[in-house]
């Protein structure tokens, strides 16, 4: 297996200050929000790497930096050894860009309502001057729709069908890597399985690699080969699904797994987790989880834990043990 994506020390800071004049008048300092902080991981070819974490943990921001919709503040994204931000050869950059596509959460907002489905699907290819003859029909069939659907408009389709159209569009340029940002979160449970099965089939048939973003732990467990857990923009744990779900090492992962409702736990009484996610503009010192952590000691307040190996798991916690 070879490494397709290599993300190193990726950081993204947003300036969320009030407008300059207000700031001067009210004598307020700049407000900076670190959405992603020093995140590093690798994605192997033809695997599914899942990012999980609660709202605001930085999942989408990482996805957008990977596809080039956002620039990193620090660190780099390397695809097949090419650093997109530093690469000067336009052709190489263009090729790699078309190797990466994205599927979005909202199958309603992400398709242009005035375009025919066929045009929506082939747009990424046409925009690059490619030949799109017969392409829409082929792709529609590949995602389980009919060739004739190319003539229709998005509103004629259900949510699950629209998400299939989104998948067809992502496949048009023959990508290697697809970033899927909550691809089934807007769908009903009975339709979710259709889309997840389709994605698994396409991965096997076309040798695709996915960065799969989700907050749904059961979906992630089903889809992923490797799972990265984010908390306040930091990667706190990375492991394969079995290791993560049976022996979670980070206190936050443990809390998250314990809190997630499970269909096979009828009438379960949970001791709910304490506290809430802190303000990302003023994150806690040291380990960002320390105010909620049952294991926290002085070192946790002072020093940010590095990701280190405990067994095959990578974990960022001073007190995590094997």
């Amino acid at each position: 297996m070879s490494t397709l994506v290599s993300i190193r020390n990726l950081t993204r800071v947003f300036d969320v200050s009030k407008p300059w004049l207000n700031r001067v008048l009210e004598n307020e300092p700049k407000r900076l929000l670190t959405a992603v902080s020093d995140v590093s991981f690798e994605v192997e070819e033809n695997t599914v790497y899942a990012l999980v974490g609660e709202s605001g943990s930085g999942k989408s921001t990482i996805g957008k930096m990977l596809v080039g919709l956002l620039r990193p503040s620090e660190g780099e994204v390397e695809i097949r050894g090419v650093n997109l931000a530093a690469e000067s050869d336009a052709k190489t950059v263009d090729q790699i860009r078309s190797d990466i596509q994205m599927i979005f959460q909202d199958p309603y907002a992400s398709l242009n309502p005035r375009w025919r489905v066929g045009d929506i699907i082939t747009e990424p290819v046409v925009a690059r001057g490619g030949d799109a003859t017969g392409l829409a029909a082929k792709l529609l069939e590949q995602v389980g729709l009919a060739a004739e659907d190319a003539q229709k408009f998005p509103h004629e389709f259900s949510g699950g069908q629209r998400q299939r159209i989104g998948v067809a569009r992502a496949l048009a340029s023959n990508p290697k890597l697809i970033v899927c940002d909550e691809p089934t979160s807007a769908l009903d449970v009975s339709v979710q399985a259709q889309v997840l099965n389709l994605m698994s089939d396409l991965k096997d048939d076309l040798g695709l690699t996915y960065l799969f973003i989700s907050h749904d732990l059961t979906v992630v467990r089903h889809m992923a080969d490797v799972i990265g857990v984010l908390y306040l923009g930091r990667l706190v744990e990375e492991a394969d699904p079995d290791a993560l779900f049976t022996t979670p090492k980070h206190p936050y992962t443990q809390m998250l797994l314990a809190a997630a409702p499970r269909m096979d736990q009828i009438g379960r009484e949970v001791e709910p987790p304490k506290g809430e996610i802190p303000d990302p503009i003023n994150p806690p010192t040291g380990c960002a989880f320390h105010p909620r952590c049952p294991l926290a000691t002085d070192v946790c307040k002072q020093k940010r834990p590095e990701l280190r190996y405990v067994g095959t798991t990578r974990v960022a916690c001073h007190h995590a043990e094997g």
Binding site: V189, Q194, T218, R221, F245, A259, P261, M263, I266, E269
Partner: protein, 326 residues
């Protein structure tokens, strides 16, 4: 059996449109016992919120109750005048919605909102109301509750706001709470807090709850019985273990079977083909038949048998599991 707190009998909600009369709720019946949590599941558009809104008399025009009866503690409430219904809401039935801001007045301090609600519905002095407002906030776990009485809704996080809404829904000591997707907008860890809180408070006071959600995990953990809705009808109604472990309606069976389960590993998920039909284009017979593996001629002509209030059967001609004898 004790008398039910709420009894919904053959409820029909209709929406007249230019082309046809739509029925978002069609012949729905259920009872809720004191202290019971009834989970309501089903896909988007199945009629879950419409049913709840009909019970609390908050249907948006042109939707209206076109048939059936709703009884609350032995009193019929579906034919009450708007002003009478307003008294029932808040006093007898508390409400919690997905977006806490719909239940809160953005211009009022939350202490005042709680106090007003208590004074409106309970025969207590202002001083007593103030005391109870503080108690209510403490009970739902708002830190430094005494100081927060003076805060406005926007000064709270989403999870804290939903706690305030729960305090507001329960402060007049209603016998029934309708919680419509109370945790859908919240994170897993906050959701667990809110569900645990709701369960604890209702158990302590014997309050009954209608918990509308599309999350089967939440249903498993919180509900005593489950009502499964499909295209405006009740597909199945029964104790939570029975519905989740031995579903009888093929739709429930498909729904439960399509959930990724830890034990199943990476196998393909079982999927239900197609999607739920729109109200304007419901098929004849059982609305599920175009997606159903067991459908035959009977299903294409006649809707399945209607469920009675106790949910003795599934609304299906060919139920999946054997009846679990009571």
């Amino acid at each position: 059996m004790t008398d039910p707190v709420l009894s919904v009998k053959n409820l029909v909600v209709e929406i007249p449109t230019r082309r046809a009369v739509l029925r978002p709720v069609d012949d729905v019946s259920y009872d809720i016992a004191p202290g019971e949590i009834l989970g309501v599941v089903g896909e988007s558009g199945a009629g879950k919120s419409m049913t709840g809104n009909a019970v609390i008399g908050l249907l948006d025009r042109p939707a209206h109750i076109a048939g059936g009866e709703i009884w609350l503690k032995g009193k019929r409430i579906d034919n009450l005048r708007a002003d009478q219904m307003r008294k029932v809401r808040g006093k007898e039935i508390g409400m919690i919605f997905q977006d806490p801001l719909t239940s809160l007045n953005p211009l009022l301090r939350i202490g005042d909102q709680l106090e007003e609600t208590i004074l409106e519905h309970l025969p207590v002095s202002r001083a007593e109301a103030r005391k109870r407002a503080l108690q209510a906030l403490e009970e739902v776990g708002i830190p430094a509750a005494a100081e927060r009485l003076g805060s406005y809704p926007h000064e709270f996080s989403g999870g804290m706001r939903q706690r305030v809404v729960i305090a507001l829904a329960l402060c007049a000591e209603p016998s029934l709470v309708i919680a419509d997707e109370p945790t859908t907008a919240l994170d897993v860890s906050v959701q667990a807090q809110i569900i645990a809180l709701l369960k604890r408070l209702c158990r302590e006071r014997g309050t009954s709850v209608i918990l509308v959600t599309h999350d089967m995990g939440v249903i498993a953990e919180a509900a005593d019985r489950v009502a499964v809705m499909y295209a405006g009808r009740l597909a199945e109604l029964g104790p939570v273990e029975q519905v989740l472990n031995a579903p009888r309606h093929p739709y429930t069976d498909g729904l439960v079977g399509s959930m990724p389960m830890a034990s199943a590993g990476k196998e393909r998920l079982r999927q239900i083909p197609g999607s739920m039909p729109r109200l304007g284009s419901l098929p004849d017979g059982c609305a599920f038949h175009p997606r159903c593996p067991k459908a035959d001629a009977e299903c294409r002509q006649n809707p399945g048998p209607t469920l009675d209030a106790t949910g003795g059967r599934a609304a299906c001609w060919f139920p999946v599991s054997q009846e679990v004898s009571a």
